[in-house]
Amino acid sequence: MADEKFEPNILVFCCNWCSYAGADLAGVSRLQMPPHFRVIRTMCSGRVDPEFILHAFSKGIDGVLVAGCHVGDCHYIGGNYRTRRRVPLLKNMLKQFGMDSERLKLDWVSAAEGDKFQKVITEFTEKITELGPSPYRAK
């Protein structure tokens, strides 16, 4: 098993108004990305309840990326203000659970930033591959 290549499972939450459109743009522009991620669209990054992320980790996901509109650009004005507090606080708590907090990432991708989506996904996939399988996988 040891020499078998590790293929991470990555979950991406994209907000409807910016990041999902950004991901779509990356797709229609045929930008190449590692295929290890699955996207769940939420109306706003503020809709991503920390419980969703904890649930994903408890099911053995290796990394979670939350993507939303840039600060100041939120479709609902202040949704991502909440997200940018929840994610760092959750990271602090995940550290206490013994996890590498880099398994959770927050980034801002606008609808025009297909190339940024590609970059963020590629870097995050590399990071998670380097970290290896989540310690909650076997549980």
Binding site: D49, P50, E51, I53, L54, H55, F57, S58, V71, G72, G78, Y81, R82, R84, R85, R86, P88, L89, L90, N92, M93, Q96, F97, G98, M99, D100, E130, L131, G132, P133, P135, Y136, K139
Partner: protein, 335 residues
């Protein structure tokens, strides 16, 4: 009519739940008039073999308090589940893990090191720790094993019919349970559906008398001893972490209304959520000093803001770590 048979069993507990049962005061006389306590190691001399000798389902109701973290507790829980018609997780520890559940951030070896070696009042140079078996003058002595994999809930080892949250459950909740069971035994009422939590289905904020503002905001986080707490204003608004928004009501918000102290979350998660800690984390982060000049706030400032909560895990899962989604601490493989 035969007398109702009650068992009061215990796992990892401080016995506060049993004390609270006695706190029903004069009603205890009525209860003892119609019921026999057939098993309660705290109150009487009774052994497992006496329970083993009882016919299956001969006990009407078993109130199990405490978490399950010893081999013996697991055996006792399974034995009593077999002998009882109704199994009740009595109190936070049996229901969500309670304070003993915080042991899930460590393991058996580390617990032994702290308790039997490292504490200031301990002198144990040979590091003698409890063994499951040892021989003393030709006799073999045994002790039950402490689980290395952490604290379990009653729910993890047996089928539970009803849950009574609270540390300890309050007299009102105990009386509700007694009413239901007494009516059922007397043929005057039905039992609630299996899995019912005997408390409110709403959050604690519904029962709290404090004034809550629409646009609430925490400027700075304080621990309760650091400021003078205003008894009229919402605790969160004063910067005190209160688990009320993520905790099930049913206790009448006693700590908040009568004690002028924040909720610590012993009621467990509300019916609508999976994870109490995730729920309160979301609530607190949402009101953490969001102002009109948010666009000028840097990520470093946000980091500082959230780092004011020094122990998020211990604060948000104080009574419910083994019942949380992640359940226990893990070790990340070093790359």
């Amino acid at each position: 009519m035969d007398k109702l048979k009650i068992a009061i069993a215990r796992g990892a507990t401080c016995s506060g739940c049993e004390i609270e049962f006695v706190d029903i005061n004069e009603r205890l006389l009525d209860v003892l008039g119609i019921a026999d306590i057939v098993y309660a190691p705290t109150l009487m001399d009774i052994k497992h073999k006496d329970v083993e000798a009882m016919p299956d389902k001969s006990i009407d109701i078993c109130l199990y308090n405490g978490a399950v973290r010893l081999e013996e507790s697991e055996y006792e829980a399974k034995l009593l589940a077999k002998k009882s018609k109704i199994m009740v997780a009595f109190g936070s520890c049996a229901y969500t893990g309670g304070i003993p559940g915080l042991a899930n951030i460590t393991n058996r070896q580390k617990i032994f090191e702290t308790v039997y070696r490292d504490t200031a009042s301990t002198e144990n140079p040979d590091f003698v720790v409890p063994q499951t078996k040892c021989e003393v003058s030709g006799y073999e002595l045994t002790l039950p094993e402490l689980f290395d994999e952490g604290v379990k809930l009653l729910d993890d080892v047996v089928e539970v019919d009803y849950y009574l949250p609270g540390c300890p459950p309050l007299v009102g909740q105990i009386n509700t349970l007694l009413d239901v069971v007494i009516n059922w035994v007397g043929g005057k009422g039905e039992l609630p559906p299996k899995g019912t939590v005997i408390a409110s289905s709403k959050t604690l904020c519904e029962e709290c008398n404090r004034e809550k503002k629409e646009n609430m905001r925490i400027q700075k986080i304080y621990r309760p001893h650091e400021i003078e707490i205003d008894p009229e204003k919402c605790l969160m608004e004063q910067g005190i972490i209160c688990l009320g928004p993520a905790t099930r009501g049913g206790c009448g918000a006693k700590c908040i209304n009568d004690g002028n102290m924040p909720c610590r979350g012993c009621g467990g998660p509300t019916a609508a959520v999976l994870d109490q800690g995730g729920s309160i984390l979301s609530a607190i982060a949402s009101v953490l000093n969001i102002t009109d000049s948010e666009s000028t706030v840097t990520d470093e400032e946000i980091e500082k803001m959230v780092s004011q909560i020094v122990d998020p895990l211990g604060t948000f899962y104080r009574f419910g770590l083994p019942a949380s989604l992640l359940k226990r601490k893990v070790t990340e493989k070093v790359v």
